[in-house]
Symmetry: C2
Subunit: 352 residues, 2 copies
């Protein structure tokens, strides 16, 4: 039985694979003179964040104040960008406390957000670095046009307690080039207004190997690359061997010739489809698919005889690693077949 | 601002509504002489489990050993059914420890599972109660035919340390009547073999108001009814006013006339669609839908002008309450507009 010292379902993280993924993409960024700022929402493990920094990352990206707090609490992390509009006095006060400990930057896509940040930092000894979030096609957050970006950049320079730190976007999938054009236009407008644009931050794992083509981008934010997952294998970004995170599951029932049930359901694999069919890839069994999840059951079906027995263990590469890493209190760190021990997932399950 | 003492995103549980839901369904079961055994996977709150028992539930249902352990640890819970094939010595040992504290029953759908249970209980002072799980149409776990059920029932009576406790099924949605027929045939076969069938346990929220029609069922297991959710409102089981669990979210961006972004993404609402379109219902705003989730962003779109401002708060009824209650360390208990305080969600994020 594989990993017999572990109970299931467990989220396994192969540190050998994760570290190789980190080194490989750092080398790519180094080659192209691109700054790398990994997004820790994928792993939420201070030890991996520190490994990323030790290999040459310029800082980390977080999505929530609580993630940043958990990373900073461990020590050894000095530069944090939170790529989110931080709204409300409760959270902006926590930003103040964070900014006293690390070099902190955040984003804003409206006057209201910038003014809230300004209120919290008006009497701070150092201004808070604020990037303008730009909607370059993903239609999530972000100012709508380069002209709006320039207007908000100007506003940020005028607000007490803030300093304009540059532009930030999360491009639409496949929209990397359009994003670069958009950012160039915004950068030109802002510079014509006499304001420097120190950073242009873009991100995403899907176009990670084209990141160097996206001038004027100066730094790339990327999360999933540390673990990889079925979505990135399917899109040709990596191979199954590059997947550092797997879910270890036990077959608990083989009710028919062609289907079996494992003890990994939506409360560990999640229902994220990410544009795929089925709920993960069973390593070493191309004939199997996971066609249905309930909370604690995963249904595995086969095109032919299922050839599984109760008690047998499977390793599943999930569709989307970032959400699976967030489901259990601990991931189990391994190196190959060696079990190293549980690592607590910091800041999961926090309100914010 | 609503619930201004709380930060967002928060999972709110209105105890007034939850308690009314519990009383209402208990009254239904009492009227029809049906035993009610609520499934605590929905709330994972010992206090609500005790309320369910105080209103007349015969015991609780759990899906995992760790859930049962967390409920029993609090005291006051004496009868637990785990509706899952418990596989592996590590878990069956924990069952032994649990069985010394409470009246415990579990299920099995194969000889292998029953034999594993028998090994752990062979030298126990009291036998472990085991129900045969039946596949009455949902094609998840369960023996395939009534004849298989009878065979496994016989096997359970022969295995040391076990006692046969009856039949258990989770019917297919809408397959309540077929399930009842299936169970009747199995019960007849087992009784003809001279074995008593003390319990016949069925479950599910979708057909909850027809549960009394499903003779020979003696007990009904039900989870979601305590909170209700968008899936049950959509299917006509209840109204929005009966939804006890809502996600409180803040608008963080209004990038266009027709869309806004809230701070509730897939890491709190989950991507469970449950056959629906969109990711939840915004209370009081029939014109809005949540068409896209990323991990910490929810995109709200409107058929007309969105009419939302940054900082505004929304209450969202999720598609599926059971998985949302599992996402954060605490739910915030409320009664109407009064905030009572956080309740820790027991046993979430445990391996098993």
């Amino acid at each position: 039985m594989i990993f017999e010292t572990l109970d299931t379902p467990a989220v396994l993280v192969d540190l050998d694979v994760a570290e190789a993924n980190i080194r490989k993409y750092q080398a790519y960024c180094d080659t192209h003179g691109l700054k790398l700022r990994p997004h820790i929402k994928t792993h939420k493990l201070p030890s991996l964040a520190k490994y990323q920094l030790a290999q040459g990352a310029v800082g980390i990206t977080c999505q929530k104040v609580s993630e940043a707090e958990a990373m900073v609490a461990e020590g050894g992390i000095e530069d944090v960008l939170i790529t989110y509009n931080i709204v409300g006095e409760r959270k902006t006060k926590r930003l103040r406390a964070l900014a006293e400990k690390v070099s902190l930057s955040v984003v804003a896509d409206s006057d209201v957000v910038a003014e809230g940040l300004s209120q919290a930092f008006a009497d701070a000894s150092d201004p808070l670095s604020v990037l303008v979030e730009c909607n370059t096609g993903a239609d999530r957050c972000g100012v709508a046009t380069p002209e709006d970006a320039a207007r908000l950049a100007r506003r940020i320079t005028e607000l007490p307690g803030l300093s304009f730190a540059g532009l930030m976007t999360f491009p639409a999938f496949g929209g990397f080039t359009e994003a670069a054009d958009w950012l160039s236009r915004a950068k030109d407008l802002i510079e014509k207004d006499g304001i420097k644009v120190p950073r242009v931050s873009s991100g995403g794992s899907q176009d990670m190997w084209q990141a160097h083509l996206a001038a004027p981008v100066t730094e790339h934010r990327i999360g999933t690359y540390v673990y990889n997952d079925r979505s990135l294998v399917t899109r040709g970004n990596c191979s199954w061997q590059d997947c550092a995170l797997t879910v270890l599951a036990t077959v608990v029932s083989v009710p028919s010739e062609t289907h079996a049930i494992v003890d990994a359901g939506s409360k560990v694999l999640t229902t994220d489809l990410f544009g795929l069919q089925g709920h993960g890839h069973v390593l070493g069994r191309e004939d199997l698919s996971i066609d249905q999840l309930s909370e604690e059951h995963g249904r595995v079906v086969s095109s032919g005889p299922i050839n599984l027995a109760v008690g047998e263990r499977l390793r599943i590469v999930p569709n989307h690693a970032c959400v699976v890493a967030n489901m259990l209190e601990h991931v189990e760190s391994i190196r190959g077949t060696d079990v190293l021990g549980p690592l607590p997932v910091a800041a999961r399950g926090q309100v914010w």
